[in-house]
């Protein structure tokens, strides 16, 4: 009996000690797609996030950083379980990491329900920008429509008379083409929806040849896009039709898989390898030194997310428990983003610039996606849903 009481007492004191220690570090739950055909995307975000922590001496905001990493396997239910474990069991201070909107939406309620901030390094779906906006959700990347809106704006500025649009037949595909059309003033020759995961586009390419559009815009993530570009060039269509893509569709990972066929393709993004600012120069150099490859937009977003946590924790002077104050510190965080200056809108989605990029050969003969002009296609651009968000 006496021994039992002693044991209980010592356990209680140990518990108390561990509670005190918890505020001595910042804990981050990182859930992303790290395996399978889409695993490279999550790996980009993770590698860049880890790089930022490493360059910071293993600390974020002056506190030692502990990053718990989980693989959602491209499955929403697995993602949700990981969210639950990190938020409820490990009591993390921030959640981040997810690539795909459908997985993020499955996990998000777990974080929001426990008042844990989710800082999105990629997925930023339109419902959360509007009616369903949340004080615990920040999009560090870009609203889901934004790349497509910028591409539409570019096609309008360039004076393309007719545009041919292709996307897979699912929600994100339809949203992307809606975004393009919002800023494209020319004629839409056709809007084609293909089966998700389709790999052979011979029939669609024959239709495009017959339609003779000025510009072809498509949203085909991952392997679908790689195949489409290869077959587009093999069919000789690149001679007559200009190809324009959203930024992630012509990034270094796609270039590595497709090769020379990518030369001359234009795309739009909020960041570029050679975007002219000091933070970006440091990021690109360090990333290449550490991982022996050039970073993609996904990496840039992961890196920025770590910098944002660093700035917010520093602003809160390490007090991680006052959620309202922390929210203010995230929103007003001052840090050198690799995309240049940006700020959060009332719905906590970014207002920022979008640039035109082009796949070119650099001095060493490598294929790289370079910025065409440091002047943005869309400047200080927010999103179309902010007025539906009740937060002020």
């Amino acid at each position: 009996m006496k021994a039992g009481r002693l044991l209980a007492l010592s356990m209680a004191s140990l518990l108390a000690a561990s509670l005190v220690q918890a505020s001595d570090k910042v804990k981050i739950g990182f859930v992303s797609t790290l395996s399978g055909p889409n695993g490279a995307l999550g790996a980009e975000i993770r590698d860049a996030f880890n790089l930022a922590v490493k360059l910071n001496g293993g600390k974020l905001g002056g506190l030692p950083a502990e990053v718990l990493i989980g693989d959602d396997q491209f499955k929403p239910d697995v993602g949700k379980q990981l969210f639950e474990r990190y938020v409820k069991r490990d009591k993390v201070d921030f959640m981040t990491g997810v690539v795909f909107s459908n997985i993020m939406l499955a996990g998000l309620p777990e974080a929001v329900g426990e008042k844990t901030f989710y800082l999105s390094p990629n997925a930023a779906p339109s419902p959360i920008a509007g009616k369903e906006c949340s004080p615990y959700f920040f999009a560090v990347s870009w609203p889901n429509d934004a790349y497509h809106e910028a591409a539409g704006q570019y096609a309008t500025t360039k004076g393309f008379k007719s545009a041919y649009l292709i996307a897979p037949n699912y929600q994100a595909g339809k949203d992307s083409l809606a975004g393009f059309k919002r800023y494209y003033k020319g004629k839409v020759a056709a809007e084609v929806y293909t089966k998700l995961g389709q790999l052979d586009y011979s029939a669609e390419l024959a239709e495009i040849r017959a339609a003779k559009p000025d510009v072809l815009y498509f949203f085909l993530p991952g392997g679908m896009g790689i195949n489409f570009i290869k077959q587009f060039v093999a069919a000789g269509l690149n001679k007559d039709t200009k190809l324009v893509l959203p930024g992630f569709g012509a990034d270094q990972d796609i270039i590595r898989s497709v090769g020379e066929e990518m030369l001359g393709i234009n795309d739009t993004a909020h960041w570029a390898l050679d975007l002219n600012n000091a933070a970006n120069k440091k990021f690109v150099t360090e990333f290449e030194k550490e991982y022996k490859r050039l970073p993609t937009v996904y990496a840039a977003q992961g890196y920025d997310t770590a910098l944002l946590i660093d700035a917010a924790v520093r602003g809160a002077k390490g007090n991680l428990d006052d959620k309202e104050a922390m929210r203010r510190h995230i929103k007003e965080a001052k840090f050198e983003s690799v995309r240049g200056a940006f700020r959060f809108n009332t719905n906590q989605y970014p207002i920022q610039n979008y640039y035109l990029r082009e796949v070119q050969k650099d001095a060493q003969g490598r294929l790289v996606n370079k910025i065409v002009s440091q002047t943005p296609v869309l400047a200080n651009h927010g999103d179309a849903y902010v007025q539906d968000c009740p937060m002020k």
């Binding site: 055909p37 011979s202 029939a203 392997g223 790689i226 093999a234 069919a235 000789g236």
Partner: protein
Amino acid sequence: MTWILFLEQSLNGLQFGLMLFLLASGLTLVFGIMDMINLAHGALYMVGAFLAAWLAELTLSFLWGVLLAVPLTALFGMVLEASLLRSLYRRDHMSQVLATFALILIINEAVRMIWGSDLALSAPAALSGPVELLPGLKYPSYRLVIIGVGLALALFLYLLVTQTRMGAWVRAGASNRDMAMAMGINIQRLFTLVFGLGAAMCAVAGAMLGPLLAVQVGMGESILILAFVVIVIGGIGSIWGAFVGSLLVGFVDTFGRTLLPHLFRELFPPQVAATAGPAAASIMVYLLMAVVLFIRPQGLFARRS
């Protein structure tokens, strides 16, 4: 639809159909002669593609990659037949389905362990561009090569089955296995040969489609479903049925994907058409199968009643 577009789409349908035929021919023979449902047929297609990609990288030649991958895959198929599948012939179909499904999982993971989840395979640079067949009709040269290879192999199979002694055994085995055995045909050796032949056809299809699609783990499963549709349409055990069935599926899929959305856009408001068009296009092939099953349940060219 202009006639040039029609011609181009016909070539696309032909190209897709011929590659399906290479898969379906082996599947229909194995099913027809051995009465064996082999779900792992798609795995042979994957193994063929991985071998071709790996050997093409070693020999620095796409042609050598394909030429070496075909006999190696045939050998792999024959070893598989002799060591494992042979014991399944006398079992019921459910056991065969379960065993060959397990085989899919095992082969998938084995390939992942050896080569990783995907390999790069590119067509030779000389075939990367289009050729002008007619004024205004440019067609990717690599797809033309695929059509040529597919037609040549279809002719080869036709001659093999109708003109040679082995073909006679195959036909005999497909129409009545017990009688063929009673007539003194070494059925075990025939099975192994047929299995090897089927595997070789899979390897050709995998290697030729590799540069167009992707050489990745799991590539065999989705195309296997269509191959089964083909043999159900064509009739089990019939090479000619597999040929006709493959071309039907190829054409219906290609034209369904492009014509149906057009039709829906004419008939319905844009909102409905954008959703219903692609959905209807994706079920066309299965609709064709349902219609054939309704009219001729044994398939168009069944060998058995």
